[in-house]
């Protein structure tokens, strides 16, 4: 099958702790894939391994950009992963608080542009053109995300839900083909979650970017995902469609404990 992200026997040890134990995952293009599991199952560790924040103890990670060739990204630098087209958001929001909303998104364009110090000082034609393109593209993304009324606001002054959206906007600005969302709905109210659901679907359908997300909100996951992976104690315990996962006894056990009868 034609995957865009593939992890093969990925293991991550912190001293004696096996945070990930020979995990296999295949993300298909054009899909929304979810990764669920109880707290401490190793989901964020898995994301951190893919995006280069940790380098895995064992195993391999491959990406295949649409129309491109398969590429091994195991243990490469964080910014290289983003350059290859895999962007992410964080579980605890990590926007740049003292920069404006627009500038936050403009940072996302950094890896797709290349003017340097000399260009900044001389402000030659090429630099100015690039700068204009950065601003235009960033504004366009903010428009799609629905944050245009706040372009010049310092990011720290945004309401919580909007900060989460800004993080997604910023990630989209890097022109990814795969977007990793780490608990995007955490701390959101029902209305914000609904908006988020629509946004994620539009990212898949209109932006044509595949989405891989970690989420605890089961209603969101089940309603949204094309396929679901379940993790527990660093191991992958199930995979399938939301329908299959809901009925998987192993998953129910992981979430509710050993001794559940009936």
């Amino acid at each position: 099958m034609n995957t865009i992200l593939e992890a093969r026997k990925l293991s991550m040890n912190f001293g004696g702790l096996k945070a990930l134990d020979r995990v296999d995952i295949a993300v298909l293009p054009g899909q929304i894939t979810a990764l669920i599991g109880p707290n401490g199952a190793g989901k964020t560790t898995f994301f951190n391994c893919i995006t280069g924040i940790y380098s895995p103890t064992e195993g391999d990670i491959f990406i295949t950009p649409p129309g491109g060739r398969q590429k091994r990204i195991t243990g490469i630098n964080i910014h290289k992963v983003t350059e290859s087209g895999v962007a992410r958001t964080f579980q605890n929001i990590r926007i740049f608080p003292e920069m404006t909303v627009l500038e936050n998104v403009m940072i996302g364009r950094h890896c797709r542009t290349n003017s340097g110090v000399l260009g900044a000082i001389l402000r030659d034609k090429g630099t100015m053109k690039e700068e204009k393109a950065i601003v235009a593209r960033s504004y366009e993304i903010l428009k799609k995300i629905g944050l245009t009324e706040h372009v010049n606001l310092l990011a720290r002054n945004l309401p919580y839900g909007a900060q989460r959206r800004l993080e997604i906007a910023r990630a989209l600005a890097t022109d990814p083909f795969l977007l990793l969302l780490d608990e995007p709905a955490a701390g959101m109210n029902p209305q914000e979650t609904k908006d988020l659901e629509a946004l994620i679907i539009s990212i898949r359908d209109e932006w044509e970017i595949s989405v891989f997300l970690i989420e605890h909100d089961m209603r969101l996951v089940m309603g949204l995902s094309d396929s679901v992976y379940v993790m527990d104690y660093g191991e992958m315990i199930a995979r399938g469609t939301p329908q299959e996962i809901r009925q998987n006894p192993g998953v129910i056990k992981a979430y509710l404990g050993e001794d559940v009868s009936a």
Binding site: F90, F96, E98, M106, G108, M128, T148, N157
Partner: protein, 413 residues
């Protein structure tokens, strides 16, 4: 003033009396009692106790009054970024105000050396040197958020480059200027390489050590730097080989320094809102997120150190030319601390703030020579007060805003 009514006045009075009594008690042993060891008597300086009491009472009362006011009121003038806008920021951002202000500053700068003495021109030149140093350090500390306590090492690199090149090869000021900058830049990158992985306190300590090592090397490596006695007889900058007297040379150097200031402000200002400038800010804000945005952390850190130290190198060459003498004693940690104070006091990330900070911190002590005994005390008090009331500095850095119109793209760039 409705919120600061009579009961609050009384409350403030009461608190201030308590504070001043406490201060009189605390300072009693050092301020009131003096043992005269020659005549073996004890002097009781009761007047000092009165001064301390009255001073602390007034300060405490003013403090309470001001903080009471800042809690109430001041709701107007909220800018687009959701923060307050000060008069100085408006002065800079509104063309209607900034152009006349700029004109006044330009006229003063132009005529200053002709209406004041050599002594004052000299001090002003020094102050301008610190303006450039402050702006340079601001790139590293204010924008990239890398606390550098060894900035003086780059300053020394520039000064010694000129001194040594002149001493050995007779290289003149104008050739030494770019070479000094280059030497400082290379030194900056050399320092940045080992500290790439460090952050915060650790980075501060390593850079502090680096600054001290540089000074100690200059002090002890006699064959290279001529040790503590330094290098003297360094020529002042020339102007097409003209012979200049002491007075003309001072004025000339003053104008060169003005020129360097203008160039620095121009460059720093342009960098601030560029792709590189934004990358520096992102690095300061969140290192992991910055990398996750595809920014090469290593390259940005190296750029920050290189850009910052270049200015110190340039000023170093000016310093050597101005004093015509360099020795390691000019490049102590105190100097780094002074430049850092300028950045923090003026406002990290704000160009106008740093200019004001540099002028205040360098000029005030000179004009307050009468109180020279209490200079450091006063300095400390000002820093403490600033950090309590305006931790963001005299002028807060403001991010650039963009205007969009309906379906249009950006209007001004």
């Amino acid at each position: 003033m409705s919120t600061f009514n009579n009961t609050k006045y009384m409350e403030g009075m009461k608190q201030s009396v308590i504070v001043s009594t406490w201060f009189m008690f605390l300072t009693f042993p050092i301020m009131v009692i003096r043992v005269n060891t020659i005549e073996n008597i004890i002097e009781w300086r009761w007047m000092n106790m009165f001064y301390v009491g009255a001073g602390s009472f007034i300060l405490s009362f003013v403090w309470r009054y001001l903080s009471g006011r800042s809690i109430s009121g001041r709701k107007e003038n909220i800018n687009a970024q959701g923060g307050h806008i000060s008069f100085l920021q408006r002065l800079v951002s509104e063309k209607r105000l900034s152009l006349p202000a700029l004109g006044v500053v330009a006229v003063i700068a132009l005529f200053f050396p002709f209406i004041s003495s050599i002594y004052q021109t000299n001090i002003m030149t020094t102050a301008l040197m610190y303006v450039v140093l402050g702006l340079g350090l601001n790139i590293v500390v204010g924008q990239a958020g890398l606390l550098n306590l060894g900035y003086v090492a780059f300053y020394a690199a520039g000064a010694y480059t000129y001194a040594l090149l002149y001493h050995h090869f007779g290289v003149g000021f104008w050739l030494a200027l770019p070479l000094g900058a280059l030497a400082a830049t290379i030194l900056g990158i050399l320092l940045a390489l080992p500290v790439l992985r460090l952050q915060g306190d650790y980075l501060a300590i390593v850079t502090l050590g680096f600054g001290e090592i540089t000074r100690l090397v200059l002090e002890n490596w006699n064959e290279f730097s001529f040790g503590p006695s330094g290098i003297s007889g360094i020529p002042r900058p020339g102007l097409f080989g003209m012979e200049m007297g002491m007075h003309e040379a001072t004025v000339y150097l003053y104008f060169l320094m003005i020129l360097l200031c203008i160039v620095t402000i121009f460059v720093v200002n342009r960098l601030q809102d560029s792709r590189i400038g934004r990358a520096l800010l992102a690095l300061r804000e969140d290192e992991i997120a910055c990398q996750a945005m595809g920014i090469n952390k290593t390259r940005v850190k190296l750029t920050a150190f290189a850009l910052g130290s270049t200015w110190a190198g340039l000023v170093g060459v000016f310093f050597a030319a101005k004093t015509t003498f360099v020795n390691p004693a000019s490049f102590t940690f105190l100097e780094s601390a002074m430049i850092l104070s300028i950045v923090v006091l003026g406002g990290t990330g704000s160009i106008i703030g740093i200019i004001i900070g540099a002028l205040l911190l360098i000029l005030l002590p000179e004009y307050l020579r009468a109180f020279s005994d209490y200079r450091m005390l006063l300095f400390g008090v000002i820093m403490v007060i600033m950090m309590i009331f305006r931790p963001q500095g005299i002028v807060e850095g403001v991010r650039r805003t963009y205007e969009f119109h309906a379906e249009e793209n950006k209007k001004e760039i």
